[in-house]
Symmetry: C2
Subunit: 207 residues, 2 copies
DNA sequence: GTCTATAGGTTGATAGAC
DNA sequence: GTCTATCAACCTATAGAC
């Protein structure tokens, strides 16, 4: 058999980096998780999508649990939703925070839900959230800090409880994402995002 | 064989109805779902817990999907949380509604989460929620109706949006239950249930 | 690091006796 | 309606060649 043409860099089908097997597997696994659920997350399915053999999965990640752990670590990206908005109009900041939160939840919800399918996975994901410090208290602290500053500046009602207001916004956004994810299409019968933001905004109005 | 003593109603060990195989299987299945997750919900595991053979599972419920559907139907009990509290103090009613919602979510959350872990199950549960009309808009309508009546009576601020206030309470309670269910133990760093209820209550205060 | 091949176990589902 | 027995399919994980 003649040597392969040098112009053909790799025998691989889709331009994937030469030794990026591990990355390819992780990406494929997250895709399967998001599109079909953890029940379909088998070494074969993942390997086929990554374009490798299923033995490679066990080479890179000891076992199935190892793959899941790596997926959680990769998928649980931290939320940084209030970086340079420290001095905007409170209502506008609320709006912006809600948008960031929505994007964040859409990203991590598949992982969160997958962990609920197995009682043994629950504490593992909970431990990751704890260790990487990406729990909901971070979002509360972040948003509440801004609200407190605005209270000092007299732009937000002093009677408002910043932590509670922040939590209400986060929870409302979370629930909204969950409903959409669950295909509960009763959105037209529920108050709009704007109506909720307006109502939370009322809590901030100076008396 | 002599007739059985009339005083002994049933020969079964634990007060189970004489031919309640179907019921026993359903109960066992729900127990497995709650305690271990849908990943461990196999015909064998369920059958063993119900004290029947696994062939019985397929006799009563065509296949695995049939069992899951029956579980959803049985587990998605409707929420009736504001029956005879039409004339209490708004804050007390909010408190009571939150308690009822918490009990409700604790009940249905395992089923909801199970459905989210598999893309094929999602539309099935969504369809049940739609058909049995147990979606979140029911809770909103219920609570908002009460708030509207209180607005008429002048006990609740007319500027308040009843639907939005109801939704905020429901979402905050939902998120709270989800966090507990997920073992996210940051509750001590988050505002208390009372703080949230107080803040929502502020939305109702007459100006 | 990646492959083929395969062992060993579990699962969904059916057949047929009682 | 309930059982025992069984299958085919699928899954995790390993062994060993390249």
């Amino acid at each position: 058999m003649p040597p392969m043409s040098a112009s053909e860099e790799s025998p691989r089908r889709r331009g994937r980096p030469p030794s990026g097997g591990r990355e390819a597997i992780l990406e494929a696994a997250l895709t399967v998780l998001r599109d079909h659920g953890i029940a379909h997350l088998t070494s074969r399915e993942v390997a086929a999508r990554a374009g490798v053999s299923d033995a490679s999965v066990y080479y890179h990640f000891r076992d199935r649990a190892g793959l899941l752990e790596a997926m959680f670590e990769r998928g649980m990206k931290p939320l940084l939703f209030l970086q340079d908005a420290e001095d905007g109009d409170p209502r506008a900041v609320l709006r912006q925070a809600a948008a960031s939160l929505e994007a964040f939840f859409d990203d991590v919800l598949p992982i969160l839900h997958a962990a609920q399918s197995d009682a043994e996975l629950r504490p593992i994901v909970a431990e990751y959230i704890e260790r990487k410090d990406v729990g909901p208290h971070r979002g509360v602290e972040n948003l509440a800090g801004y609200l407190r500053a605005q209270q000092q500046a007299g732009r937000v009602n002093r009677r408002a409880n910043p932590d509670a207001v922040a939590m209400l916004l986060i929870d409302a956004t979370f629930a909204r994402c969950v409903r959409r994810h669950m295909l509960i299409r009763s959105e037209e019968r529920l108050p709009s995002r704007e109506a909720l933001l307006d109502e939370i905004g009322r809590l901030l109005e100076p008396t």
